[in-house]
Amino acid sequence: MEIFLIIFAVLTVASALIAVATTKKAVSILAAGVMGLFASIVFIFLAAPDVAMTEAAIGSGLTTFIFFFALNRVKSDRAQGGADD
C-alpha cells in the first residue's frame, strides 16, 4: 500500500518540479495540472474521496483551464500589439 503512496507522492513532487523548472509556460501550467491529479490520488490514499474528487475537478481541471484561458488572452493581446497605454 505504502509503496504506491510513495510512488504517487514522488510523481506529485516531480511534476511540481517540472512545473517550476520548465522554460515553457504552457508546459508549466500543464505540469501543475498533472500534479493536481497525482495529488488527488494521494488524497484517495488518505481516505479522502471527497477531497480527491474536488481536487481533480477544481484544483486540477478547472484551474488548468482557467490558466490556459488567461494565457490565450495574453497571447492574443500580444498578437494585437499588446499594451494600450
Binding site: 471527497d50 474528487m53 475537478a57 477544481i58 481541471g61 478547472l62 484561458f69 488572452r73 493581446d77
Partner: protein, 235 residues
C-alpha cells in the same frame, strides 16, 4: 542567482519551522472529541451518510456561505475589470467541426452528471463544489468548441444571485424554524441513506452547487473575454 540562493536559504529556514512540527507529530490513533461527535452523532442528528458533507453544509455551514461569498466576490471583481475594459476583446478562431459536435452532444450529459454529483452529495463523495465545477467544465467545453459564440452572462448572474439569496434564506429558515442559522433540521432527517434524507442538506447543497457553478462559469466567461458583460449593463 543571488535571488535564488537567498530564496533557498529562506525556504530552508521555513522548512525547519514546518519540520519542527513534523518531528513531534504523532499520528492520532482515534478521533478527537469533535470529530467523533461528527462521526457518531451526526447520522442521528442530521442523517447524512457522508459526514464530510454534514460538516461542510451544516456544522460548518457558515464557512461554506463564506466560501461561496469568496467566489462571488472574485467573480464580481473579474466582472468589474471586464466592465472597465469593455470592448477590448479580439475575435478568436473557431474550433473544429468535430469538437463543436462533440461538445454539443456532451454538454447536456455533463450537466446531468454535475447535477447528480451535487444532489447525492450527502450520500456519497461529491457535492455542491464538485458538481458546480463539473457544470462549469461543461460550459468551458462549449466555449472551446465555439469561441465566438455568444453566451449570456446575465443568465449566470441570475442563477448566481438567486441561489445565493436562497442559500441565505435557507439559513434564516434554520434560524427561525430550527436551532440556529443554517441549521439543516428544518426538514426531518428522513430515511438514512436515501436521496430525500438528511433534512435540508441536499437542498442547501443543490443551491451551493448552482451558485458555485454559476460563479465559476461567469469567471470563465469573463476570462474568455466574450462575456459582453459590460454591454449588457446599462449605466
Amino acid at each position: 542567482m543571488i535571488k535564488k540562493a537567498l530564496a533557498v536559504l529562506l525556504l530552508a529556514q521555513l522548512c525547519t519551522i514546518l519540520f519542527s512540527f513534523l518531528s513531534v507529530y504523532q499520528e492520532p490513533t482515534s478521533l478527537n472529541a469533535v470529530s467523533s461527535h461528527y462521526i457518531h452523532n451526526e447520522p442521528k442528528e442530521l442523517g447524512a451518510a457522508n459526514a464530510v458533507t454534514a460538516v461542510v453544509v451544516t456544522y460548518r455551514g457558515l464557512d461554506t456561505l463564506g466560501e461561496v461569498t469568496i467566489l462571488f466576490a472574485a467573480s464580481v471583481v473579474v466582472g468589474l475589470l471586464m466592465f472597465l475594459h469593455k470592448n477590448e476583446s479580439a475575435p478568436r478562431r473557431d474550433g473544429s467541426e468535430l469538437l463543436k459536435t462533440g461538445a454539443s452532444l456532451l454538454f447536456p450529459l455533463i450537466l446531468l452528471f454535475g447535477a447528480y454529483v451535487f444532489i447525492n452529495g450527502h450520500l456519497s463523495p461529491g457535492g455542491g463544489f464538485q458538481g458546480g465545477a463539473i457544470i462549469a467544465s461543461a460550459l468551458m467545453l462549449t466555449i472551446l468548441a465555439n469561441p465566438n459564440r455568444h453566451v449570456g452572462h446575465g443568465f449566470f448572474w441570475a442563477i448566481e444571485s438567486i441561489s445565493g439569496f436562497v442559500f441565505v434564506l435557507l439559513g434564516i429558515a434554520g434560524l427561525v424554524l430550527a436551532g440556529g442559522f443554517l441549521d439543516s433540521r428544518v426538514l426531518p432527517p428522513g430515511t438514512f441513506g436515501h436521496v430525500a434524507s438528511a433534512g435540508l442538506i441536499p437542498v442547501i447543497y443543490i443551491f451551493v452547487g448552482l451558485k458555485v457553478g454559476a460563479e465559476l462559469s461567469s469567471v470563465v466567461l469573463s476570462l474568455h473575454g466574450k462575456s459582453e458583460g459590460g454591454v449588457q449593463h446599462h449605466d
